[in-house]
Subunit: 301 residues, 2 copies
Amino acid sequence: MPSADRFPSAQVLNIQEELFLIDCGEATQNRLFEHRTHWNRITYILISHMHGDHVFGLPGLITTFCHLGRQEPLILVGPEGLEEFLNASIQYSHSHLTFEIKYIKVNHLNSECIFDDGELVIQTIPLNHRVPTVGYLFKVNMITRKLNLDKMESLSIPVHEFKKITQGEDIADKEGTVYHAEDLSTVESWHCSYAYCSDTKYNEAIIPLIDQVDVLYHETTYLNELADKAEATGHATAYQAATLALKARVGALVTGHYSSRYKSLYPLLEECKTIFENTILGKEGLKIDIAELKKTSKLKT
Amino acid sequence: MPSADRFPSAQVLNIQEELFLIDCGEATQNRLFEHRTHWNRITYILISHMHGDHVFGLPGLITTFCHLGRQEPLILVGPEGLEEFLNASIQYSHSHLTFEIKYIKVNHLNSECIFDDGELVIQTIPLNHRVPTVGYLFKVNMITRKLNLDKMESLSIPVHEFKKITQGEDIADKEGTVYHAEDLSTVESWHCSYAYCSDTKYNEAIIPLIDQVDVLYHETTYLNELADKAEATGHATAYQAATLALKARVGALVTGHYSSRYKSLYPLLEECKTIFENTILGKEGLKIDIAELKKTSKLKT
């Protein structure tokens, strides 16, 4: 249901300045504009399901990309119907794509790996809604080298060689003396994970997939007093989302996708907190720095 | 181009509490909600052309009508592609219509009458844009009877007979005495007209159609210093819209459809006013009471 100040689903996940847009409800492009999002850094758009509040912003966003003269290819991930819907919107609105769209069609019956470059893995999470629906799980495992600047200065290593060392390469000076990257830097690994689960009934089958993720976004459409309505409409209650967060031992739970009947969202937050203390109230414009949350030990993982 | 505070095209025309939605850019449903528009009173949606900033709000609005359980039929007027676009959106978003949609497909080459019940006439206005585009002209000619309350009181006419007299019917009392409606009331006729012209180049061919309309909405995408750009993109400048308003002897001109390059809209208004003084700056949420404007003689017609 529309509202003047609550917007349909859309999230941007920033992984090392590459942006992944997850769901694209109506007027998502206005929100991206409002938050000064770098359009061209959006390389993936991942759609959970084809209900309008998750996808009706896509035609406008794509045609705006065209007006901006985008040339970078875009990867669109989603269930059946996504490509057909977007093609119809482009065709009948007399739009002309200025860039290539690659589609990845996902199924909602079992988890699939849709991206894996060794540092980032993206997997689908089969959800249980009224229509084919998937969640998305992002796992980042990166190895970075932290330069030992004191040692490098004492050895007079020139600045233009820093990048090579960061990448783990050995270097040599004019006299042929070799300096090993492992002597000039220390390896640091960091990992972060995020799971997006909307829209869905309470479903314990996904626990192994989302086990110990740093942050779980899980829909909390209703308070638990409306558990019957949640069951009938394929949604979850705040209590159920928190129960799942607890059982899956996640770092933090973010709520969202609220029924328009709730003028205040705090009862939904409070209901979660009775089960799972580390719950964050999802709301318009919320920004979460997962790495920072982990550093400051606000996450238990 | 999206913006945080300027919205794509959508206007609501209220004729005796029947609502006509003209164009339906993204998130129009949120604006309707914000302005507490009575959803069920929207009987017609008229689309000027199929560019996304005029039509991408339609799937969301129609599916919201379904969520609200609408049963009243809806008439959708617009150029080729409208029915196909909406059908695709409904199909791929797994939506199910709860009411009937009747389509009226219009052509952009000559003016057509799409409604005429004697009191209200709706005609298309052929426009000159990059794709098939029509404007819409609404002419209201209503005859109402104003009751002579003093006379009715002196004759002890019961209140339940007032409606009949308003409708021009004669009445009789228990003794068989007949009272003629024309003796108890005076006939008043009122007429109002409104023309919606967006998107279009400057086009004098439409002057006979919009001659002396009370209010003309005409797009003013650019200042006249960008007349070449207007010509190339199928748009009009403020100067051109005002010139058309002057030549068509309209009562008032309302501006709109501004290029996102203009942070302030006043230069566009000022440019119009150098040609046509009675210009109203179109902006988000603007409400105009055409009948009231006429009464207070702010319109010269």
